[in-house]
């Protein structure tokens, strides 16, 4: 139905643009403006997605001139999920890591964003301090300097987090909670460096809140805390949803899991499995990455499904 409408618009465009009514003109320009990005999205996101699914369902043959597959059904998935000894375990580990870090990440970045959004002296300085590591973190994530791992290891040993860990362990809190807390303490640098984009997203969300709302609240005599609960939090809640999506996706994309006692990045593992040489591994690799993607999607779906119940849309 929608497609037909678009077609109708385009057809009449070729006849007479001037006779179109205002709404149709707007729609037409909307589509024209969207087109370059859309083509990119189709070629580099949607089509590859479909192709990956196709590869994962077939046994791929790579010859000098062609790359073809014969349909084998769910064989590849069977291999990945039942024969491969590590993949399942690594997926679960990535999931658990993500779940423990997620709430901390969201709260921390919301908190910092609110602080950065306030009016006080030296705000520019603090903004710079919090935004510069985004540059650094994204750089190192892709750049993979040997220095990077050195930095995170030594920063932990220099900052001497041991006493904090000891404090948590000996404080008599139930063991499940204390192990969660120690994992926060141990991963503090990883968590902090992954907060950057979320802080930016929250900042842009906070600044979309109309100042008149705050004025009203002040007139009505709200305390700062009430203002936060009744205005800031509901107004920023759609951004929380987006941050959740981004954090989950990012945390899966860069998930580090243990393999034979060593830390490996899960997506690197999939890559190394895919390009082992023999062409049947292409199918396995495609199946792996599809399972991986499906899990990301499912997690995002579940968590966002729960959270979106509490999201407030202003319009």
């Amino acid at each position: 139905m929608k497609k037909n409408k678009n077609k109708a618009v385009k057809k009449s465009f070729s006849f007479s643009y001037k006779k179109l009514d205002f709404e149709k003109k707007t729609a037409l320009w909307g589509v024209i403006f969207l087109l370059p990005w859309l083509i990119g999205l189709i070629f580099f996101f949607l089509r590859p997605m479909v192709n990956t699914l196709r590869y994962s369902l077939s046994s791929m043959q790579l010859t000098d001139t062609s790359f073809t597959g014969t349909f084998v059904g769910l064989e590849n998935f069977k291999y990945v999920l039942t024969v491969n000894p590590d993949f399942n375990r690594m997926l679960v580990e990535a999931l658990i890591n993500m779940l423990t870090e997620l709430p901390f990440q969201i709260f921390l970045s919301l908190f910092i964003a609110i602080m950065l959004n306030g009016e006080y002296k030296g705000r520019g300085f603090f903004r710079a301090v919090f935004v510069i590591p985004i540059i650094l973190a994204t750089g190192i994530a892709t750049f993979n300097l040997s220095e990077a791992s050195l930095v995170s290891q030594t920063s932990e040993s220099v900052m001497k987090m041991d006493w904090l860990t000891d404090l948590v362990v000996n404080s008599g809190i139930p063991q499940e909670i204390s192990s969660l807390l120690t994992s926060y303490v141990e991963n503090i640098f990883t968590v902090i460096t992954t907060c950057g984009v979320q802080i930016l997203l929250f900042l842009s969300g906070l600044q979309a809140i109309s100042p008149s709302l705050y004025e009203v609240a002040q007139m009505e005599g709200c305390t700062a805390f009430e203002t936060f609960c009744k205005i800031t939090l509901p107004m920023v809640s759609p951004t929380i949803l987006v941050c959740l999506v981004y954090s989950i996706a990012e945390s899966f994309a860069t998930a580090e899991v243990t393999l034979n006692g060593k830390e490996v990045v899960l997506s690197e593992y999939i890559r190394s499995q895919t390009f082992q040489g023999a062409s049947q591994f292409y199918g396995y690799g495609a199946a792996m990455s599809f399972v991986y993607f499906a899990m990301t999607l499912a997690t995002i779906g579940i968590i966002c499904g729960i959270v979106s119940k509490g999201v407030f849309y202003y319009d």
Binding site: F44, I112, L136, E147, L200, M219
Partner: protein, 309 residues
Amino acid sequence: MDILNRIRSNYLKKKKSRLDFAPSVKKTPRSFWGNVALGLFLLLMGLAFFFPVIYMLSQSLKPMNEMFIFPPRILVMNPTFNNYRDFVNVLANTVVPVTRSLFNSLFVVVVGSIGHIVIASLCAYPLAKYKFPGSNFFNQLIVYSLMFNATVTMIPNFLTIARLGMLDTQWAIIIPGFASTLGLYLMKNFMEQIPDSLMEAAQIDGAGYVRIHFLIVMPVTKPALVTAFILVFQSFWTNTGDRFIYTEANKGFAYVVQQLASGKISGVGSSYAGISAASAIIMFAVPLIVFLIMQNNVVSTMATSGMKE
């Protein structure tokens, strides 16, 4: 302590005088110590955020014998610029002249970033401001493609690039970069705040959509554009072009530095630890300079630019 108290009383006095003419509202003003605590917290968090940068900097200034002391120190005893000198020396003797790879990087960064900004803002404008068939669907598509994971689409992407005949050229990095979504999302959020009346005014004066976009929407959304620019600049600058570019002469500066940092360029020997620290700082310095130039604009408020309705 005495000084602190004096500052505190000054602070309270100032605050009181400011409130003289304000309507009497029930307000619990944050106490002085509360502000101090918050400030301290911010400072601590900032320090934790900033620590890796400081550590990298100190590491790059260390002479060889200090570099491997355990536990590592932040303070450098005898700071030297030897690491930077070695870095430059090695770069001067690479097989492919370093100017060539610098030029490659420059090309990718300039064409890629500007192209991305133009295309993404073009896309963000109608999505933020107009309703048309399918606009809801596209809005959701943006959020979904935030989870764009390069691993999943690795093989097909490679094939797409190959079929387009872009393998081994810079376009293999630039073109896929156009389709990234994060900047687009930031821009769309920001553009939703532009008052409609501004665009209506332009329309009444006879501006078409293209002109409205380039002469009104883009200048007004400069903060979002700049933020997106910094993010995308960074991703292009650090792209080593692995698995898309094979000819050494076509690789970018990031690739050369990466080879250096991991000690893969011959003739470096054991000094590569220092060189890699220096190269990390240099790789980091370029986006930093871009950031500092544009810093005033990073996600600054709409309210301050007087555009709020």
